[in-house]
Amino acid sequence: MSDLTRKTAAELAELMTSGQASSVEITQAHLDRIAAVDGDVHAFLHVDTEGALAQAKAVDEKRTAGQQLSPLAGVPLALKDVLTQEGVPTTAGSKILEGWKPPYDSTVVQRLKAAGIVILGKTNMDEFAMGSSTENSAYGTTHNPWDLARIPGGSGGGSSAAISAYEAPLAIGTDTGGSIRQPGAFTGTVGVKPTYGGTSRYGLIALASSLDTPGPCARTTLDAALLHEAIAGYDPMDSTSINQPVPAVVEAARNGDVAGLRIGVVKELGGEGYQPGVEARFHEAVELLTKLGAEVVEVSCPHFEYALPAYYLILPSEASSNLAKFDAMRYGLRVGDDGTNSAEKVTSLTREAGFGAEVKRRIILGTHALSSGYYDAYYGQAQKVRTLIARDFAKAYEQVDVLVSPATPTTAFAIGDRIDDPIAMYKNDLCTIPSNLAGNAAASFPCGLADEDGMPVGFHVMAPVMRDDLCYQVGAALESALAEQWGGVLMTKAPELEVTR
């Protein structure tokens, strides 16, 4: 049998259905791959070898017994370390949660388990999802499999690196300002942020509650859609969950027809500050969609330029409130409990020792933005800007079905390049943030390599609320047209990693 780690999730499912491979074989192949390459990539914070093999064995037994199984049953997956999984270490990339084993499963994990999807382990991320490179992880930086000297994107860089290093065919990410889509773009993979409320936040360690959205990462559009369908849908445990049917994402990914689809190129997301190779691949992709029958027009969203400042008020404000629960009392790290220090002092010492620099920066910024005398000028004004951005989207969608832009202004940068320049780091998310503020569905699909550095470029599709299917429709059209040109999806161009035995 050819290498099981090179197969897509859909192909692996087919191999299992036809009896050509078992889930245990497939899972073991991926565990072996992790052992061989993760020393260099560092995508995983924890590999659950025993748990994964036990899940795989259970699926194989059900299949042998002739039980009805879901489409992805037995396929392995890498889980971002921000989602709780009962009994498996969950750190959110922070020292303050080192060694914590949650006593319950997040809804996403419950649904993965119910679908028979095998969870290989937990992936690295920027601490509490604050960052665009994984350099803010308390457990070391993940390396981009396309070039180990570069970052894999963030915050979900562990998930994107795991799938682009063939350590897993599928991964779960969470997207608050671009943390699924930007790592997808940087690693030549597919990353989808579902409509806010389309996937459950229960058991997701909160960064900014009004923005956080779990979603799928994969090497192909169809695989992402299959995973999307497995995890999405109404959840009474999340008070902002949408009680509507899941959009027909798998059907859209199989269809991939853009004839007559109206596509708007966002004027404000391009030009100065955008890498030439990124713009070149983006415009070629737009031309390709035109050839496939899409109607392309330019659209203006004038308030998008204020999305970044509004986001960096709303996010830190919500984060400073959400992270107040790390008080050293009920779980996690406790420092300075020497019998003389007060509870308040112990809390302060613990947060000093347990939080990294970026987390402290954002908590203090959020505390400032919410403090009396500043609230109206900062947080209140940012919420008004949020309304204006949602109105820009609404107006654009009167004219077009979807909006498109590059997923990121640049390709993946070198490790260390922007770590001490927060503003340069924040600008990674210029194109992705507006969709978080408005809550609509958005996704990044690979559209080629930049000429300057040979690194992957992401094509960003933004669809209206609960029209996630339109993202997949465009992504599938682009993917098949590009694969015809290249003789395979973009990932087939990735360099081979050195394997240690």
Partner: protein, 98 residues
């Protein structure tokens, strides 16, 4: 004239219950000053008559039926506690000595 001073940052850190060393304050204060310069751009938008959006979706309070549902056992709830005593979370003293 910075938009936020080192003293203000130290005050905010106390409010947020984070001890900061002098070195950290030296590093953090100018960075926050820059970031506040960036986020302050929201004030350039004329939005006096614009309603705020606190949430992407127009949702009102969501209630569930008032029924008992399974929850964590005391052992599960205490499983991550840094310190416990008599099936309770043990915490440092709450009151300052006078």
């Amino acid at each position: 004239m910075p938009s936020i001073t080192r003293e203000e940052v130290a005050h905010l850190a106390r409010l947020a219950r984070i001890e900061l060393s002098d070195d950290e304050l030296d590093h953090l204060a100018p960075q926050l000053d820059q970031i506040i310069g960036l986020v302050g751009q929201v004030s350039q938008v004329a939005a006096d008559d614009i309603p705020p959006t606190s949430h992407a979706l127009p949702l009102t309070n969501v209630m569930r039926a008032d029924e008992n549902v399974p929850c964590l056992t005391p052992e599960q709830a205490l499983s991550g506690a840094p310190a416990q005593e008599e099936q309770r979370f043990r915490v440092p003293r709450i009151l300052e000595e006078d």
